[in-house]
Amino acid sequence: MVKSVVSVLICLALIVGGAVYEHRFIDSQFAEFTAAVDCLYEKTRDHTANRQDVAAVQENWRRKKEVLHAFIPHNDIKEMELWLAETLSLVSYGKYEDALSKIDVLRELCLQIPTAYRLSLSNIF
């Protein structure tokens, strides 16, 4: 009986603790990354962005994804990488208008992915 109660409490603590950590970690990681993407968006809009700027954002994402792999589906991570790669190419060729639409998708993904982990009825069902 005592063993059962203790195992229930430990299990509950692990799940609740893990859930809180996951929520905070994903939120903070995406908040930082969104700031970087926003900065890139402004530079692209002003036609001042260059290949190094996008590469820096890409590098930022590569560092974050190492840990994010543990929490979010790997397909979502891959999708971010593909949009970043397209942005890099377009900025390199000076196609800023096209690059802006790609960065818009990145910004949307930055909003959508963390929301998928929030406690809400739409996520449960």
């Binding site: 009986m1 059962s4 109660v5 195992s7 229930v8 299990c11 509950l12 692990l14 799940i15 609740v16 893990g18 859930a19 996951e22 929520h23 792999h69 543990a70 929490f71 979010i72 589906p73 790997h74 397909n75 982990y117 406690l119 996520n123 449960i124």
Partner: protein, 227 residues
């Protein structure tokens, strides 16, 4: 994580309710909640293992949730008889000294054929071999043999179950529908009023009207009847 936790718990509770409603036929040797866990756990472990795009933590959290629910149910069951009855169900006495209890059988989504099948697997080939037959909460049949049970080498075949002719039984034995009709006419009984009627190859008949005690009769088998 919390989403996976809630989703797993929701699926578990739904499956649990469905298994309880399905009765004892679906279970077999496990308590309903153990059966539900067995059903889910294999898939939960398999999906993140086989699909590398799903983080491993998804499977781990779901399995931990099941473990948590298992332990909670175990604790709840120990709280009292009512909780145990709601979660795991209670044993059903489907055969007593008066005969087959059709109400209990139906409550568990079982028929007389299922009862006969379970009895045969325990080594009893006639309904009147037993004083009591109980379907336990885990779906197993427990049987209390009659103190004066004779040694018989006869196989009883179901002819009528819950007011309906059992055509496969009649065909298998080659006994013909007339045998049943003639027997019922002599007993002044209508088919719809018969709960159970079986016959073995010595012509020994187990006959039970609805809500009445069973009777043992005998009748000569028609020519050509053999099994």
């Amino acid at each position: 994580m919390i989403i996976i936790f809630i989703r797993t718990a929701a699926i578990f509770l739904t499956l649990m309710a469905v298994m309880r409603l399905m009765g004892k036929r679906q279970i077999g040797e496990m308590q309903p909640f153990e059966f539900v866990i067995t059903l889910i756990v294999a898939d939960l472990a398999c999906i993140p293992m086989a699909d590398v795009s799903i983080p491993l933590v998804y499977g781990i959290v779901a399995i931990l949730t099941l473990f948590l629910l298992h332990q909670l149910i175990f604790l709840l069951e120990n709280c009292g008889a009512f909780a145990k009855r709601v979660i795991s169900g209670k044993p059903s006495v489907v055969l007593n000294k008066n005969g087959v209890n059709m109400k209990e059988l139906k409550k568990n989504n079982l028929g007389v054929e299922d009862l006969l099948e379970s009895m045969r697997s325990q080594g009893y080939f006639s309904l009147d071999d037993l004083d009591y037959a109980i379907f336990e909460a885990n779906g197993n049949l427990s049987a209390l043999e009659k103190a004066d049970k004779p040694r018989r080498s006869a196989l009883a075949v179901l002819l009528v179950s819950d007011g309906k002719l059992n055509k496969s039984g009649i065909e298998k034995t080659g006994i013909g529908g007339n045998f049943v009709a003639e027997f019922l006419r002599r007993r002044n009984a209508a088919l719809k009023d018969v709960s159970v009627m079986t016959v073995d190859n010595t012509g020994r008949i187990y006959f039970q009207r609805k809500n009445k005690r069973y009777e043992i009769c005998s009748a000569p088998l028609p020519e050509g009847a053999e099994w």
